[in-house]
């Protein structure tokens, strides 16, 4: 089977990959670039463990064909923290003990950051519906929601001060 040449930007770095045409963006990230932070829980768009940003839109990377990512800017969980340390969403998830096994966490980190970038002041219902595409079997969501609420508070405090 002839391979497809894909050029894309991942977490700020230009990347070039040869992949099989039926491979997903998730496979490209995990198998070709060895960025295994993005997880596969279902491969059918139902669990959100594979959530990444593609040109600033949240997508299930298992539903995007790798060739479709050509020319796109992709941000994965590995690209959320920066030289200043953890993103406030990551820090708050830790402080609230909002992960148990942690396999869903990369998806929640990416999705919650995207929410706060768009809407700095979401109420509980907004957070719950925004994150409804991310399954967590361990936590019952309570502490995740509280962590995101707390992160929003903290972001507000730092931007207004």
């Amino acid at each position: 089977m002839s391979k497809v040449h894909v050029e894309l930007n991942v977490n700020g770095q230009p990347e070039e990959v040869l992949c099989e045409p039926q491979q997903s963006l998730l496979d490209l990230l995990r198998d070709e670039l060895h960025l295994t932070g993005t997880k596969e829980g279902c491969g059918t768009g139902d669990c959100g463990a594979c959530t990444v940003l593609m040109d600033e839109r949240l997508v299930c990377s298992c539903l995007v064909l790798a060739p479709e990512a050509n020319g796109k800017k992709v941000v994965t969980v590995e690209g959320i923290a920066d030289q200043n340390g953890l993103h406030v969403v990551q820090q708050k998830l830790l402080e609230h003990a909002a992960l148990q096994c942690g396999v869903c966490t990369p998806g929640f980190v990416v999705a919650a950051k995207a929410l706060l970038d768009k809407n700095p002041d979401p109420d509980e219902t907004t957070i719950r519906y925004w994150l409804a595409g991310n399954l967590c079997r361990c936590t019952g969501y309570d502490k995740i929601i509280r962590a995101v609420q707390d992160a929003a508070q903290e972001l507000k405090a730092t931007t207004t001060s």
Partner: protein
């Protein structure tokens, strides 16, 4: 409340887990994240029939395919006396459920592996499947296993009943004669899946001398080693298992499916082999838990004292014996002090996947039945459901229905805390129904080991073998900090592989914080003893003349010496001069795990047009013995509550008439999402477990038990009638509403 008394410095605080940063940045390695150079990909061929005789398998095309390195069937497993697990992993003469594995290949790429699997031709003689306990128990039912005799008794004719369980006490007939009110009902619950988000995954690499290295996501690396050894008849010393981080298990990762297959494929291919299940395979061929039928009869006198109780239950085991009907029977009446009862249970074979443990295995189903019946009794008696339970509650000294007398337990404390909880005192609004139920789990101890290594700067590494599925590293570090008297931040906990730490049973049965925690505390005490010896040497005293206080060696009061206390850090720094590195170790076979009780209540509404039940509020009160890290205790309570709500309202295995699972995806097997549930309010009650140095009881399993009946009882309150069977999904609620009008 938990926070009120603070006699500890570390225990009861809520620090960040030591493995946290890796888990929020994507650096933590889970089962599918591991790779080796030259690695092949393994895939499995699965049966398209629920019940069929395998007449022949033609592997020739697959074997000849370019890029295929090995192809196996059960003929490549040892032939003699295969265990049920072996026959489940690769079918022998018969396939016993839709999705049953019967061949596997290893190839250079996933697509080649898939092609090879598709090229395998199997000739089947299709047999009639047995698809429910009712069908399995019917006269002339087809036999799942023609050689199965109940309880292994050769004097019986073969049947689908693998085992029977029986408990009784007193005289139930007399007991029911004394009852003024009697409730008698039947409750049915279909199979549900554990639903861990991470599918099963492993890499196996067998070297030229037959030594196997396996990396996998599991609740117990040592158990995986034993299973591979059993299935492949390999020496355990030729198998090394390294547990990855684990993306949820809930009992479903206490057994193996792909690991022995990957080992055999690697052995034949001479290359490492990676196997990762997809979600559909997880649904079709792993887990689930038993579908059940429970009949319960309970009688009480007009004062609300339960005079007799009777239960009969059938648990589907799937295609091989081993449903959790025994714990189902043992737990059904566990919260109550009963003088007269009879309990009967059956372990029943059907043509469905072999069930696996699921959080408090067996208890949610049987206790849903009892807690629903007790709710009906409370209605007949016109009594508050908590008061009725208080009148009959088991307490210290009560003889448990399964035999032993309870030591200190926290059921009464939980019920009393619930009764005065603001969420209970505030009555629900009109059209909102409230339901209450009690939960219970035995908890287990078993074997654990721990080693402590002290670095020259006083930093401590704990090496232990319990895969961390919910923050247990943090609990280990807290108990070590408390025992040694040093800061939490100077301690790290590492989960070892089967060759770098002592034997440790799996993470399950709510045993980790209790039993592995006990080993960690004892290992710390071992280090302290050594620290005291070194200090005594420094001061020229006997070891008995030295005490350990808050992280310092000090001369015992009355010992006449002028000496500055020696800190743990100083002792670590000078260890090279005083006899070498400081280490400690301990191993335990922990006894007295201490049962864990809970009380849950929930407020729900029902949309009479759509049949949808909405959970408005949920409160969990639970005895933790002692909460080491209260946030992770609450996390167990909240996670269990939501799993239980999902089971009560939505989750079920739906089969067609041929035994094909119709909803093998997260789209159609819908577990609760964030917008389905409210915040889960928690109150931790602490009735210390006398068998643990800090009073710990396991807390992981009890939380899933009460939500089923609590939700059912709440729906009963709104509707004015009861829906006995779960789940109370919109179509079923609508049907019930139709039937009622």
């Amino acid at each position: 409340m938990a926070e009120a008394v603070r006699e500890f410095t570390a225990i009861g605080t809520r620090p960040i887990r030591p493995d946290g940063v890796e888990k929020v940045t994507g650096k933590a390695n889970f089962g599918a994240d591991f790779s080796l150079p030259g690695m092949l990909y393994g895939k499995v061929l699965r049966s398209p029939y629920a019940h069929a005789r395998v007449k022949g398998i033609d592997l020739s095309e697959a074997k000849a395919m370019e890029g295929v390195f090995s192809v196996i069937t059960s003929a490549d497993f040892p032939k003699e006396n295969p265990s049920d697990m072996s026959c489940n992993i690769l079918a022998r003469e018969k396939v016993l459920y839709h999705g049953h594995a019967l061949a596997a290949v290893a190839a250079r790429s996933q697509s080649i592996a898939e092609e090879a699997i598709n090229s395998i031709k199997v000739e089947y003689e299709v047999l009639q499947p047995v698809l429910s306990a009712d069908a399995a128990l019917a006269e002339d039912a087809p036999l799942v296993d023609e050689n199965l005799r109940t309880n292994g008794d050769e004097s019986f004719m073969p049947s689908n009943v693998a085992a029977t369980v029986h408990y009784e006490r007193g005289d139930v007939d007399k007991g029911f004669e004394k009852a003024d009110y009697i409730v008698e009902e039947e409750y049915r619950i279909p199979s549900a899946h554990q639903g861990y988000i991470e599918p099963h995954a492993c890499v196996a690499d067998v070297n030229e001398k037959g030594r196997a290295s396996v990396w996998c996501c599991t609740q117990g690396a040592f158990e995986v080693r034993n299973y591979i050894s059993e299935v492949l008849q390999k020496k355990i010393s030729d198998i090394k298992v390294t547990p990855s981080e684990i993306g949820g298990g809930f009992g479903g990762k206490t057994v193996v499916y792909v690991e022995p297959v990957a080992v055999r494929l690697s052995e034949l291919a001479g290359r490492p082999v990676k196997m990762v299940m997809n979600r559909e395979e997880v649904f079709r061929a792993t887990g689930p838990c038993s579908a059940t039928v429970c009949r319960v009869k309970v009688g009480a006198n007009k004062d609300g004292i339960i005079t007799a109780a009777k239960a009969w239950m059938a648990y589907e085991a799937g295609a091989f014996p081993g449903s959790p009907v025994t714990p189902g029977c043992m737990s059904i009446f566990a919260p109550y002090d009963l003088k007269n009862f009879v309990i009967d249970g059956l372990d029943v074979l059907v043509n469905k996947p072999k069930v696996a443990a699921y959080r408090a295995p067996g208890a949610p189903q049987s206790m849903h039945a009892m807690e629903s019946a007790v709710d009906e009794l409370a209605r007949k008696l016109n009594m508050d459901p908590i008061d009725l339970r208080l009148k009959n509650a088991a307490d210290e000294g009560t003889e448990a229905p399964y035999g032993p007398k309870y030591p200190a337990i926290g059921l009464v404390e939980c019920l009393k805390a619930a009764k005065v909880h603001p969420n209970y005192v505030n009555k629900p609004a009109k059209d909102v129904g409230r339901g209450v139920a009690v939960g219970f789990w035995f908890n287990i101890g078993m074997q654990s080991s721990a080693e402590i290594w002290v670095a020259p700067n006083g930093a401590v590494t704990i090496m232990e073998g319990s895969p961390d599925i919910g923050g247990s590293r943090a609990s280990m570090c807290l108990m070590a900090a408390e025992t040694l008297g040093i800061p939490y931040d100077s301690i790290n906990a590492v989960i070892g592989d089967t060759e770098s730490t002592g034997f440790c049973n799996l993470t399950g049965g709510s045993r980790t914080t209790f039993a592995t925690g006990l080993a960690v505390v004892r290992a710390c005490e071992d280090v302290i003893a050594e620290c005291k010896r070194r200090a005594a040497m420094t001061w020229d005293l006997d070891t008995e003349q030295v005490d350990w206080e808050n992280g310092f060696a000090v001369p015992r009061p009355g010992v006449n010496i002028e000496a500055e206390p020696l800190s743990f850090a100083e002792l670590a720094k000078t260890a090279g001069r005083t006899g070498g590195p400081l280490v400690g170790r301990a191993s335990v076979n922990a006894q007295g795990a201490g049962a864990c009780f809970s009380v849950n209540w929930t407020d729900v509404t029902v949309d009479r047009d759509t049949g949808k039940v909405d959970v408005q509020a949920f409160t969990a009160v639970q005895d933790a013995g002692r909460a080491i890290h209260p946030s992770y205790v609450e996390g167990q309570m909240q996670g269990g509550a939501v799993q239980g709500i999902g089971w009560a309202l939505n989750e079920e295995y739906i089969y067609d008439d041929n035994g094909v699972l119709e909803n093998a995806s997260f789209l159609d097997y819908r577990i609760p999402v964030a917008s389905d549930v409210p915040m889960i309010d928690c109150q931790i009650v602490e009735v210390p477990n006398p068998s643990h140095p800090y009073g710990v009881r396991g807390v992981g399993e009890t939380p899933i038990v009460a939500p089923l009946a609590a939700t059912a009882n709440a729906v009963r309150e709104v509707l004015g009638f009861r829906i006995n069977d779960l789940p109370m999904s919109p179509p079923r609620v609508l049907e019930a509403l139709d039937n009622a009008s």
